[in-house]
């Protein structure tokens, strides 16, 4: 990697993520027959929140502010581990896929703790749901990644998703297909999209992630929204690379294509959110277990 590529790999996870949220909102608005807010609205929102003051609950401690900070920092580091296109992951070492999963888990731990810090029953409810659902999403994601580990013989995300990915598809297309479907379900669950969670609902009782941040305002809320976008970016990049394995050669060109594909994924999420209703909460675990079984089948197909 030369200096320009490093700069690109550094800046893309910093600048690009909010655009994904804009694209999702725009898609949903268009399908509903509205014009919708501008694509760059999430950036304006973040800038507005950063300028605002903060109201803090008397119940809270330092954990309340540590939640957004740690969630954003860990999401950034996790995003740096996924290559933009076929090459160019900023952080890479053997076994980094475990670090990827555990970094995101660290963010979740602090988000849950920050929610419980307010002492609100609603936020506790959301925190409990987040903890329970991610327990089921984690094995599903790991099974999906095991497919890649087995096929590539490598334990680093950078080389698993590297230029050899087309050959892996030639060998294990059914398994990789199952893994990609499973990862898409995990992406929707972990990023609190419909059918798991509705980011735009106004009924606290039915929310998962949004209800956990009810008491945050101003800059801390900006960090939370931004961190969620970075997390979506990281998961999306992983899925996009897995689903479209071709290698165009140049790092910059590959990165540009990957970013365009990410926007396509955002549109797809928008379509899913438009055509589906949110699932009943008690049925979410079975969907996640189903996703886990799908990727477990993918692993089993490779056993021979």
């Amino acid at each position: 990697m030369n200096a320009a590529d490093v700069l690109l790999a550094l800046l893309a996870p910093l600048l690009f993520p909010p655009l994904l949220l804009g694209a999702i909102t725009r898609t949903k608005a268009r399908i509903a027959g509205r014009r919708g807010p501008p694509l760059l609205q999430p950036y304006f929102d973040l800038a507005r929140l950063l300028r605002k003051g903060v109201v803090r609950s008397r119940t809270t401690t330092w954990v309340f502010l540590a939640g957004p900070v740690v969630a954003l920092a860990s999401a950034w580091l996790a995003a740096f581990m996924i290559p933009l296109g076929a090459r160019g992951a900023l952080i890479g070492f053997p076994g980094d896929l475990i670090a990827f999963a555990y970094l995101l888990a660290l963010g979740r731990f602090f988000t849950i703790a920050a929610a419980l810090d307010t002492g609100s029953a609603f936020e506790g409810m959301g925190a409990a749901r987040e903890a329970a659902f991610s327990c089921l999403a984690e094995p599903a994601a790991l099974f999906a990644l095991l497919v890649l580990v087995k096929l590539s013989g490598s334990t680093s995300l950078g080389s698993m998703l590297g230029p050899e990915l087309p050959q892996l598809w030639a060998v294990g297309a059914p398994s990789l297909g199952l893994a990609a479907v499973s990862l898409f379900v995990v992406l929707l669950a972990e990023n609190s999209r419909i059918p798991f969670d509705d980011p735009t609902t106004h009924l606290e009782l039915t929310m998962v992630h949004e209800v956990m941040v009810l008491d945050h305002s101003g800059p801390p809320l900006a960090l939370i929204l931004y961190g969620a976008a970075v997390k979506l970016f990281a998961y999306g990049l992983l899925l996009v690379r897995l689903a479209t394995p071709f290698d165009v050669g140049g790092t910059a060109l590959g990165a540009a294509i990957a970013l365009v594909e990410l926007l396509g994924l955002a549109v797809l999420i928008g379509v899913v959110e438009s055509v589906m209703a949110r699932l009943q909460l008690v049925r979410i675990p079975s969907l996640l277990v189903g996703a886990g079984l799908l990727s477990a089948f993918g692993v089993m197909l490779l056993a021979g």
Binding site: V55, V63, L72, D96, A113, L116, S134, C135, L214, A303
Partner: protein
């Protein structure tokens, strides 16, 4: 020289109670300090010996009866560190001034148990090993039952005693087998092919049961939660942090003696490990008692360690020494790590219990506001035990994961299937542990006190905070200093695997850098946020409770409700019992909700089985006539029978 240092340390630690007693009961505070000081000095010697041995200075003492090598040293180091930390902690937690009857006895038992444990780690002679094992077990019994006037403590102590007896019986049989096989009491590696595989497998099975009972592998864990809950908290910390690791040490040491390991050894360890890990954490999630919850997490962590051990054995059989080194290195590092963070968590829990007077999770809350330093230390321990970066738990779990992933990448055979199931099993364990510790931190330290009586009043005293801070710093140091771990872990793992000169091939430096990057990034963001917030007015108010006018602290989400979804998902294994409120009439009367998760193995299996056994053996009581004549007759019959047998065999 190093072995001598460690033995001297053990001697000082064992004698600390006696020395303190000499200091006199007239000055209880002085006796406390003398006891802790002598124990601390002994622990310092032992720690120094362990560090020297890890750096490559293994030697023997008394003609090879005692020896200290890198494998023993990995287990010895946490004993010394945690022993000293707990002794310091007890100055404020269990002072003789407040407990004039119990404290001197507990001090003696604590020192004796710790000294016994150290000698177990040093012994290379089966008689010495067994004797030290018994000293440790009995010392542990008196430490657990320090407050024996409570019924709960006596019951837990009895259960502990029974399981140590069962464990000792297995070990007696194991060492008798080894004695018969080698012709001597020395615990030295057998030559390959000299001893029949059946005998080796019998020895391994005995070791698995005998040491597994001490380690708390499921389903042999039944004594562990009650004992941890009943013991004074610094004893719980020692018990959970290092004493149960003697079981793991025993398994590793015995395996290192037996040269021809068939596949089922590793397979059984791996499967038992995964079961212990998942069910241990699921049971922990369902607990309402802070100390019982931490005790079930010990079972989970022992499971993770056993998983690593099993994988290492399987990989060694398959000729994958690199995988074996990673898995065993991870398991050994987890032994050290668990001692640090579980000790820290128990000490933190003890501080909370001392201030609030309750162990019930559903009564606590908001402790962090009055005890911020304790809360910070406990949070560090929680992040570490969940295995999250940048702390030490991540490094050891990462090593075990790496072993699993490499096995999966290589492909082929039964090992592959086991690894492909164990890796997601470990991920599930991690997710459940995250849920559980988010619950503990959130319910105990954050929010508001759920019962007004359970309000913390002030920060823990310095003698308790000091050890906690030291353990928290040690957790951070291993996480950030992972780059230095390759050599010592390799030295210990190669003894267990019988493969000299090998080192785990892992990017330790990358793990260190990642941890550092995380700390720097989060720190910078946090400082920026603080700077930004300082410039703006910061009005504060009550928590916004979605329009409810008068939220009360009782309306907070409780520990039980937080865990409810997951407990229901694991209902097939946990068998939760709930008494939901009955709402009958138009104006229902006041009602209550009650839920309880029993230990399925204890209540469903062990207690009924032992009751049945007691009934059965009760029939033998007809022999007990109480008259000397009858007993003489029995002796005579036995003699005649023995003579007949020996005559016939000649």
């Amino acid at each position: 020289m190093n072995t001598g240092l460690a033995a001297l340390g053990a001697l000082l630690i064992g004698a600390s109670g006696l020395v303190a007693a000499c200091a006199g009961n007239a000055a209880p505070a002085l006796a406390d300090r003398v006891g802790a000081g002598v124990l601390g000095a002994g622990a310092a010697l032992a720690a120094l010996a362990a560090l020297l041995a890890l750096a490559g200075g293994s030697d023997t003492l008394a003609g090879g009866v005692l020896a200290l090598d890198a494998l023993s040293a990995v287990f010895l180091l946490p004993v010394a560190v945690l022993g000293a930390a707990c002794a310091c902690y007890s100055l404020a937690y269990f002072p003789a001034a407040a407990h004039p009857r119990e404290a001197p006895r507990l001090r003696a038992a604590f020192g004796v148990a710790t000294a016994g444990l150290i000698v177990v780690l040093l012994a290379r002679h089966s008689f010495v090993f067994l004797a030290a094992w018994e000293v440790m077990a009995i010392g542990g019994f008196f430490a657990v039952t320090a407050e024996e006037r409570q019924r709960e403590v006596r019951e837990a102590g009895f259960l502990y005693l029974v399981s140590t007896r069962a464990s000792a019986l297995c070990l007696l049989a194991l060492f008798a087998l080894l004695f018969a096989a080698t012709g001597g009491p020395a615990l030295s590696p057998l030559a390959p092919g000299r001893v029949s595989p059946a005998l080796q497998s019998a020895a391994f099975a005995l070791a698995l049961v005998g040491f597994g009972l001490k380690a708390g592998l499921m389903p042999l864990h039944v004594w562990l939660p009650p004992a941890h809950a009943a013991a004074p908290t610094h004893v719980s910390a020692l018990l959970s942090g290092v004493l149960i690791k003697s079981g793991i040490y025993g398994i590793v040491r015995v395996v290192s003696l037996l040269p021809d390991a068939p596949a089922w050894w590793g397979e059984s360890l791996l499967v038992l490990g995964v079961i212990s890990a998942i069910l241990g954490v699921a049971l922990a999630l369902a607990q309402h008692d802070l100390k019982r919850l931490l005790a079930y997490h010990s079972i989970e962590n022992i499971g993770i360690i056993a998983l690593g051990l099993g994988l290492a054995l399987l990989a060694r059989d398959a000729g994958r020494l690199d995988v074996a080194l990673l898995a065993l290195g991870g398991a050994l590092l987890h032994v050290v790590n668990h001692a640090l963070f579980k000790g820290l968590l128990f000490l933190g829990a003890g501080a909370v219990i001392q201030q609030t007077g309750t162990r019930a999770l559903d009564a606590l809350g908001g402790v962090a506001k009055r005890m911020p330093a304790t809360a910070l230390c406990f949070a560090v321990g929680a992040v570490a035990i969940v295995g999250l970066p940048p702390l030490n738990g991540f490094v050891s779990e990462w090593l075990i994961y790496s072993g699993l992933l490499r096995t999966i990448a290589a492909g082929g055979g039964a090992v592959w299937v086991l690894a492909a199931l164990a890796a997601p099993g470990l991920a599930l364990t991690g997710g459940l542990a995250l849920a559980c510790f988010a619950k503990v931190v959130g319910v105990v330290f954050l929010g508001e006190a759920r019962e007004p009586a359970a309000q913390a009043t002030r920060e823990a005293p310095a003698a308790m905070l000091g050890p906690m801070c030291a353990l928290a710093l040690a957790c951070a140091a291993i996480g950030l200093g992972a780059f230095a771990l390759g050599a010592p872990l390799g030295a210990a793992a190669q003894i267990a695997l019988g493969a000299p000169g090998a080192r785990p091939d892992a990017p330790f430096a990358a793990l260190s850098l990642l941890a550092l990057a995380l700390v720097v990034l989060a720190g910078a963001l946090g400082l920026a946020l603080r700077w930004r917030l300082r410039r703006s007015p910061r009005p504060s108010g009550p928590t916004w409770d979605c329009g409810y006018a008068a939220p009360s602290a009782r309306m907070q989400y409780s520990a039980s409700s937080f865990a409810a979804t997951l407990v229901r998902a694991f209902a097939f294994a946990l068998l939760p019992r709930a008494r939901p409120p009955q709402l009958a009439a138009v104006f229902p009367a006041a009602s209550s909700f009650h839920s309880h998760v029993p230990d399925a193995v204890l209540d469903g299996l062990v207690l009924p089985a032992s009751q049945r056994l007691a009934d059965l053996l009760g029939r033998l009581r007809v022999l007990q006539r109480g008259s000397v004549h009858a007993y003489l007759l029995y002796v005579w019959i036995a003699l005649v029978a023995l003579l007949a047998v020996s005559g016939a065999s000649r």
